[in-house]
Structures are given as C-alpha cells and as structure tokens.
C-alpha cells in the first residue's frame, strides 16, 4: 500500500507541473494587469508614477522566463508568492478561505450522497415504477438546472417566503447559513449519483453472480446487501470522488451568489483584478485537492473490493 501511495504521489508531480506551467502561461498572455484593474471603477486614474513604481516592485516588466523561474523557485519552498492586491502572502489568503470552501463542499457532497445514492437504489429495485420515474425526473432536472437560478429560487422560497433560513452570508459559519448554498451546490451531484447508482445497480442485478446467488436460495435482501451494494459501490465511489473535485470549481458560482467566503469567490475577484499570484495559488490548491481526493478514492477501492490489489 505504501509503495502504491508513493507511486501515486509521484505520478501527480508531472500533472501539477503541467498545471503550474499552463496557469502561468495563460495569465502571462491575457490582457490587463493589476495596474489597470486599480482604476477600473473609474474613480480616478492611477497615478503614472505609482504605476511605474508598482511595475518595478511587482516585477511586471521582467521577462516571462525570469518570472516563471522565480515563481517555481518560490513554489518549491511552499511559498505561493504575495498578493498584488492585498500585499499579503497568498498562502495566508488561501488558508483563510479554505475552511469555508471545505465546509461547503463536504456539506454539498453529504447532501448529494445521502439523497442521491438511496434514490438511485430504490429506483433501480423497481425499474419503471413510480419511484423510478419521479426520481429520474428529479435527477434530470437537477442536472440541467443552472446553479445560479436554482440558488435564487431557494433563496426566494426558504428565506423570503418561508423565512426559515438566511438568504446570504457566512454568519458564524453555522448550519443555518450553510444549508442553502450546500443544497444549491449539491443538487447536481445528487442527480448524477442517483442516475449512476441506478445504472450500476440495474447492471449488477442482471449479472451472473447475482443470478447464481438467487438460484442458491439467498434472500433478496441478502443479495442486494452482499452482492449488489458492494459491487455498485466501486462505481458510486468513483463518481463521488470525481464530483468532490469538480465541486471545488463549481463552488465559484454558489459562493458568489451566497456571499460565501471561500476560495471560489477569492478566485473570481483575483481573476477580475488580475491578482496573478492569488489566481495561481487558488487554482493550484483546487488541482491539488482534486488529485488528493482521487488518490484517496483509489485507496478506498481496495477496502470495498478485495479483488483490487496494489501491485
């Protein structure tokens, strides 16, 4: 297992390097800079002398290869650089935003898993039935609904009409502030999980080993519990893993809509204001999170399915 882990971590190195290079190149060629964004609200021109001084201070006039070299050198020591906007270390900025984002993603995935997986199971056990039809309509709607729109609908219903929940903000980070953004974010993976689970269970239900189990006289409950569930879990877990990573990116819209102080809203503002170190740091964290979750899922495969071995 340890050898596998080391191998997986080593495999992520080229991926991370490629991402670092891609982000750097992309933001080196996009027009606009922190200097132009300073005056983009038209309140007053940025003083030309201040502009020149900032260019020098931030190294914006340095050739790309020098900037890239110093960026990589800093990265190897775990230093993501200093934000052009806030003049704070990017690691500090990300650290402050990490917990709210993780809270949101875990809450969304918990919601998605708790609803989506049982829904898919129930639908598959009675294909074509009322539960199957309704759950699949819900799933397709959930997948096709824009998060921004869904979030607004939930705000109108649960905050404005019913008055049960606050419509925005982080508050004290408590549950009542978390519910609406988490449900908004979780609806799409919930729908996907329901469909994936249904498909996986339906396929396994017709597999030879299930037929054999039934022919041996095993009860339907035991068949589902010992054969169908365990085998379906591999696919479900893969979907959960992929969705976990994807949610980090999708959280951008939800965080902005609900004024949730996570990495997503930091990323949006940093891109708009061309705060390149903050953009690079935020994207890198998202990528690392995605890779870490996928490695964890690979490890979990072995726990669920003993046939999988890490040679």
């Amino acid at each position: 297992m340890l050898a596998f882990l080391i191998r997986r971590i080593l495999q992520t190195v080229p991926t991370v390097l490629a991402v670092v290079l891609l982000i750097f190149v992309l933001f080196s060629v996009v027009p606009g800079s922190i200097l132009s964004s300073m005056s983009d609200d038209g309140r007053g021109p940025t003083d030309p002398q201040v502009v020149e001084r900032m260019k020098k201070q931030l190294g914006l006039d340095d050739p790309v290869y020098i900037r890239f070299g110093s960026y990589i050198a800093r990265l190897t020591t775990g230093d993501f650089g200093t934000s052009f906007r806030t003049r704070e270390p990017v690691t500090t900025m990300i650290a402050k935003r990490m917990w709210p984002t993780l809270q949101l993603i875990f809450a969304a995935m918990t919601f998605a898993t708790a609803i989506g997986v049982p829904l898919g199971f129930i639908a598959a056990l009675r294909p074509g039935g009322i539960v199957d039809t309704v759950s699949m309509v819900v799933a397709v709607s959930g997948l096709s609904m824009a998060k921004f729109w869904l979030g607004l609908l939930l705000m109108y219903l649960f905050a404005l009409t019913l008055g049960w929940l606050p419509s925005f903000g982080y508050g004290d980070g408590g549950l009542k502030y978390l519910i609406l953004p988490a449900v908004t974010l979780g609806v799409s993976p919930m729908a996907l999980l329901a469909r994936t689970t249904r498909a996986a269970v339906l396929e396994i239900m017709t597999a030879d080993f299930v037929r054999t189990a039934r022919s041996k006289g095993m009860s339907e409950t035991r068949v589902v519990k010992w054969h169908v569930m365990r085998n379906a879990l591999v696919l479900i877990l893969t979907t959960i893993g992929l969705q976990f990573g994807a949610l980090m990116g999708q959280a951008v819209v939800v965080e902005k809509l609900f004024s949730w102080p996570g990495i997503g809203s930091l990323l949006v503002d940093s891109v708009l204001q061309r705060d390149i170190p903050a953009v690079q740091g935020s994207i890198l964290v998202v990528v690392l999170f995605f890779l870490a979750i996928n490695t964890l899922i690979d490890v979990l495969y072995a726990v669920i399915d003993p046939r999988i071995r890490y040679a």
Binding site: P31, G32, S33, L35, S36, S37, M38, S39, D40, D41, G42, R43, G44, P45, T46, D47, P48, Q49, V50, V51, R53, M54, Q57, R85, T86, R87, E88, M93, K96, R97, P100, G151, L152, M155, Y156, A159, L160, G163, P166, S167, F168, G169, Y170, E255, K256, L257, F258, S259, W260, P261, G262, S265, L266, V268, D269, L272, Q273, R274
Partner: protein, 529 residues
C-alpha cells in the same frame, strides 16, 4: 365644543410630539450596509487601495484631514478646527482637534498626520494616495528617496500643523478620501496593524471575515458628541444584484445599490418605491475619440457623432432612466456646472452635413472598444451602431474586460472607447485632465490640446476670486462642449434602496455608498437589534 377643540389640539400636539420623537436619532442598534462592487475587500490597510468598495467600511474606521459634506457638496475640515491660509494661498495652517482619539486610546497629534503622509509617499510601496500627498512641497522628494520627511509639513505644536503646497489648490479635495487616512504613528508601523487596524473613525475594528464582511463597533471616545448613534456597523460583501434584492426584501440588509433593471422594478413596487434614494454622482459616461485616428481629428466629425446618436432614447430605454443627460464634461453636481447649457440635439441630417463638410460624405469605419457594462458598455454600443450606420458611420466592436479597458484607455491604444470616469468633485481637477500638459496616461486620454482651454484652466488655478474661477471653469467646460472630444452620454444617477428604519442617509455625489456613518441611525423597527 370646547372639549372637542381641546381634543383636537391635544391630538395635534401628540402627533407633533410623535413626529419629533420619530426624528430624534435613536441610540443603539446595528447598521447593516452592503459592499456591492466585488466579492472581497482589497485590504484592511486602506492606504493601499483606491477602490470604492474599500472606502465603504473605511468611512466607519478611519478619518482623514477633511471629510466630504454631502449637504454642502464640498470637502470640509474634519480633524482640524480651523484652517488659516497664508503665503499667497500656498500655506495652510491647521489648528487640529485636541479631542480626537485613536481606537487604542491615544490622542491624535500633528505627528500622526506627518507620519501618515510620509508613509503614503514611501516610494518603495507605491501607495495610490501619493497622487494627492504629492501636492505638498517636498513630498515628491520623499517618494524619490531623496528625502526622509516631507519638507512642506511642519509641526508647530502637537495640535498645529503647517502645510506648504506646491500649487494653489483647495487641499480639501486632496485630503478627504480614505486614501489619506490618518494612522497612529506608533501602531501603524507594526506588522499586525493590517490584521487589526486602528483609526480615528466613529467605529472601531472588531473582525474581518475575508470574502464575507467587516464588523465594527461604536467607538465611545469619538470626537463628535453623541455620535455615532448605532452600536455596531456591519458591511457585508454582496456583489450579486439578484441576491442583494432578495436580502433587501427579506430585511437582512439595510442598504442595496440598484442597477437599471432593479431601479425600474423598485419604482413599480408600491412597497419598495419609498425606499429609493438617488443622487447625480460625479461620473460622466462618454465615448472618447482618439484624434490620432484621422476622421476624429476633425471637430466636425466628433460633433456629427454627437448629433447622430439619440442619447435621450438610450437613456430612457436602455439605462431605464437611471442617468442624467450629459451636456458637457462637468456633472450636474459640480459647483461649476452651467445649468443653461443644452445637450447636442439628435439631428441625423445635421450629422450628415457635418460629415460631408469634413470630407466624409459617405462616412467611415472605426473600432469601438467597450466593456460589457450594462449601463455604459456593450448594450449601449449595440444600440448606437444602427444610429451611426444611418449617417454612414460603420462600427467594429472590440469587447474587452473592464480591467483591460482601463489599460486600453491609459495606453491610448484605441480609436474610440466608451467609459465612465470620475469628473469630480473638484471641477478644476476634472477639467485639468484636458490640459495639454496632462500626460495621456494620467487622464488626458483623448490627448486633447487647445491653447484657449489651457489658458482658462491656468487662470482659474491662479485666481483667488472664487466667482471668477467658477466662471473660467464654466467657459472651459463650454469649450469642451464645442470641441466635442467625446460623445457626451450621461452623468450617473446613483440609486440605492434604503430600509425605512435607517435614517440619516446622505446624498453623497462622490459615491452614494460612502456614508458618514456616525450620522446614520436605526429606529426601533429595525430587525437588527
């Protein structure tokens, strides 16, 4: 009968007393403002940022030498009780308040002002406020590293400060924004200052949750007696207009900035109509024309464009009436605005004639750089294209992000662009952007050159007669109208929805969201206790 009269009189008395009570500011409660221009505050070090967003909370936390008085429409001394002008208008002696305490309990002195201005001029840090402090003699030397302290600032005693300027200007316009806030000299240099900023404002710092809010609480030793009224001030980040709308209707926030679509919706809703507060802000929206592009070098072509566009139609249909028609560069709320001026008439026939006279009878094509802004960007450009087409002018649209547009404008890399630019509050500074000595990258974006205009601006800068200065600035503004370096579109009408329980909102023409929060109060109907 007598009893009836007594009852009526008593009833009226009670009603009057109730009205008077309703108007008496209430102590306590929480003010919940919103910051609508992004998902974060730039920094808790207000010297580092010139964004409107950051000044919203800074108005609670910090104080500058001057403050904007919305009722008067001008900056007035804030940290000084008296200002004595001498030396031909170049020397200003400030008798400072001796009752202004920083939030850590120390009294403000002249040393703090000198320290703060020296900090802003630190050339290695590139603080944006340097453009204001540079008006003090010797400040530029500090910026260049040739001096350690600004020579034009002299401490006479703890509460008397002498400031020598490089030009005859009203320092109020230079030292009223949060960019030149006064920090405590002993604490400001410490590393942890940004995490827990200390100021002179009516509210002291409690917490900053990045990406969410800033919370401030009443500073009991604030120098204005009885102020602030509220116990707490919360400024929440809410960049999504639709989400703000829900939160406002749900009474979770006390203020919300409205865009054109919401402006119409709120006007149509009898429950919300009364919450609307609006002011003509000192921002002019326009299309700048580069005289380096041959057709635009001819005044008649620029005038033709002004005649070819049905500006009123665009303001009413696309901007939903959330703007005032521009008659020239200086906005409605400018002290030098000339009410007698009339905008260019929509007259396509005259536009065609002007184009023919200038040698473009069949028109020409130009590239128009724009952002996506709903009030002055792409939707406006798209509506204008067919209007210009009718007089033979073809438009090629180049769409960029707002941040990129600012760069395009500053670098002069355009044929035409559409923009919203601050044109106040100082009319002289706003018009000086068109002075030939002003570099293109500073704010003379159209590289405007006109000897008569320069002369008027120079004379306005030299005269001590305020009436004469206004007259000269009005003439300069009229000359701009005639020269038409831009298509004069509109002056922004800032609109904010304010909950009925929040009182004391000031119609700040420099930026409506910037409120002197010590004057705000909430009545007992506020849901935030």
């Amino acid at each position: 009968m007598t009893l009836k009269k007594i009852a009526i009189v008593a009833g009226l008395g009670l009603a009057l007393a109730a009205t008077a009570e309703a108007q008496t500011p209430r102590k306590g409660g929480t003010i919940r403002m919103t910051a609508p221009y992004g998902s974060s505050f730039t920094s808790m070090d207000i010297h580092t940022t010139q964004r409107a967003q950051d000044e919203i909370f800074a108005k609670g936390l910090h104080r500058s030498l001057y403050i904007w008085d919305s009722a008067e429409g001008k900056p007035v001394p804030e940290l000084a009780k008296e200002v004595i002008v001498s030396g031909g208008g170049l020397v200003h002696t400030f008798k400072l308040r001796d009752d202004a305490y920083f939030h850590h309990g120390r009294k403000m002195t002249a040393d703090d002002i000198i320290w703060s201005y020296n900090r802003i001029m630190d050339g290695s840090k590139a603080y944006p406020g340097a453009r204001f402090v540079r008006v003090i003699e010797g400040a530029a030397e500090v910026e260049k590293g040739k001096a350690k302290e600004i020579s034009g600032l002299k401490k006479i005693d703890d509460f008397t400060l002498e400031m020598k300027l490089t030009e005859k200007v009203d320092p109020g316009f230079y030292f009223f924004t949060a960019l030149t806030s006064i920090y405590p000299a002993d604490e400001g240099a410490k590393e942890g200052f940004i995490q827990k900023p200390i100021g002179l404002g009516p509210f002291k710092f409690v917490e900053h949750v990045p990406g969410s809010r800033v919370v401030l609480e009443r500073w009991d030793r604030f120098y204005k007696p009885g102020r602030p009224y509220a116990d707490k001030l919360i400024v929440s980040l809410m960049s999504e207009a639709a989400a703000r709308d829900v939160a406002f209707r749900n009474k979770e926030i006390d203020t919300s900035v409205l865009g054109p679509a919401q402006y119409v919706a709120y006007q149509a809703d009898p429950n919300l109509k009364g919450t609307i507060v609006e002011v003509a802000e000192v921002f002019t929206r326009y299309m700048g024309m580069n005289p380096g592009f041959k057709p635009f070098s001819d005044k008649r072509v620029r005038q033709a464009i002004n005649h070819a566009i049905d500006t009123d139609l665009i303001i009413s249909k696309l901007v939903k009436g959330k703007a005032y028609r521009a008659t020239s560069w200086l906005p409605l709320t400018s002290p030098a605005y000339d009410k007698t001026m009339k905008p260019y008439a929509f007259d396509p026939a005259k536009a065609k004639q002007l184009l023919a006279d200038s040698g473009y009878p069949t028109g020409f094509e130009f590239e128009w750089t724009t952002s996506q802004n709903e009030s002055w960007g792409l939707p406006i450009v798209e509506a204008i294209i067919p209007m210009l087409d009718k007089v033979g002018i073809k438009v090629k649209v180049k769409q960029v992000e707002t941040a990129v547009l600012a760069e395009v404008v500053r670098s002069g890399d355009f044929q035409a662009y559409v923009y919203s630019q601050s044109t106040g509050p100082d009319p002289q500074a706003a018009l000086k952007c068109f002075h030939s000595s002003t570099p293109q990258s500073a704010c003379n974006y159209m590289s405007f050159k006109n000897a008569d205009f320069d002369k008027m601006i120079d004379e306005a800068g030299q005269t001590d007669d305020a009436a004469k200065r206004t007259q000269l600035l009005q003439k300069a503004n009229a000359l701009l109208y005639e020269e038409a370096p831009v298509w004069f579109f509109n002056y922004n009408k800032a609109v904010m929805a304010v909950q009925p329980w929040l009182k004391g909102i000031q119609l700040n023409a420099t930026e409506l969201t910037h409120q002197n929060v010590e004057d705000l109060w909430v009545d007992e109907t506020s849901p935030a206790k």
